[in-house]
């Protein structure tokens, strides 16, 4: 299945990309995706970020649906 990954701020800057599509085996979860991303972008290990799936933050491992949107969000600076 295909998932949409979006990157912001420091994360987008470091990996040089603001979004991409990633192919994952059906039934993959968020940890599986992060494993793929850490392999692809080793510099991600030096960055602080939270993961949101379809606009919901989650600390837990989450099942991913086809075509879902996964965001890597560095620390917030609103206000």
């Amino acid at each position: 299945m295909k998932v949409h990954v979006v990157y912001f701020a420091q994360v987008a800057e470091k990996i040089g990309l603001s979004k991409e599509e990633i192919e994952l085996p059906d039934g993959s979860n968020s940890t599986d995706l992060l494993t793929v991303l850490y392999n692809k972008y080793p510099m991600l290990r030096d960055l602080t970020f939270k993961v949101a799936v379809d606009h919901e933050l989650s600390n837990r491992q989450l099942a991913l649906k086809p075509d879902c949107e996964v965001a890597l969000l560095p620390p917030f600076a609103g206000g």
């Binding site: 912001f8 949101a52 606009h55 965001a71 969000l73 620390p75 917030f76 600076a77 609103g78 206000g79």
Partner: protein, 147 residues
């Protein structure tokens, strides 16, 4: 998609004093209001390792941010007895001394307006996926992190 569902809170560039005045003036027909509280976030010219912040370039994960702002709004109306509430946040370049956040709460009584305003500001700082690139005079930058 979500743009159609949630109220837009983003303003391109700084929030002007005139916009704030207009917003206040619009509430003078609401004669059940006894108290307004307004919080304004202003970009500081912080000095960091000898360099001074000239501006912050704000960006956001907009679809999610509008959903978060919507949730903050709903929960504030649930928790506090408010007549009105308005939230505006800048995106793009806001120079030091300019205003990037405008939170406006109105109620019959002061305690509700003040408690709600503080609650909303804290929620925004913690939960809204908004990012700030602090720009220095030598074209270098660093990423702001809320405390």
């Amino acid at each position: 998609m979500t743009e159609t569902k949630y109220k837009n809170v983003f303003v391109e560039g700084p929030i002007t004093p005139e916009k704030i005045a207009t917003s206040i003036a619009h509430h003078q027909v609401k004669t059940q209001i006894g108290a307004h509280d307004i919080f304004l976030g202003q970009v500081r010219a912080d000095e960091i390792e000898g360099k001074t912040v000239q501006a912050i370039d704000y960006s956001a994960y907009e679809d999610m941010a509008l959903k978060v702002f919507h949730e903050i709004r709903e929960s504030a109306f649930d928790k506090f007895d408010l007549t009105c509430m308005h939230i505006y946040h800048s995106k793009g370049i806001v120079k030091s001394g300019e205003i990037c956040l405008f939170v406006f709460t109105s109620s019959a009584h002061r305690k509700e307006a003040m408690d709600a305003c503080r609650y909303i500001v804290e929620e925004i700082k913690e939960k809204a996926p908004v990012f700030g690139k602090e720009l220095f005079e030598d074209d270098s930058h660093q990423w702001k992190v809320n405390k």
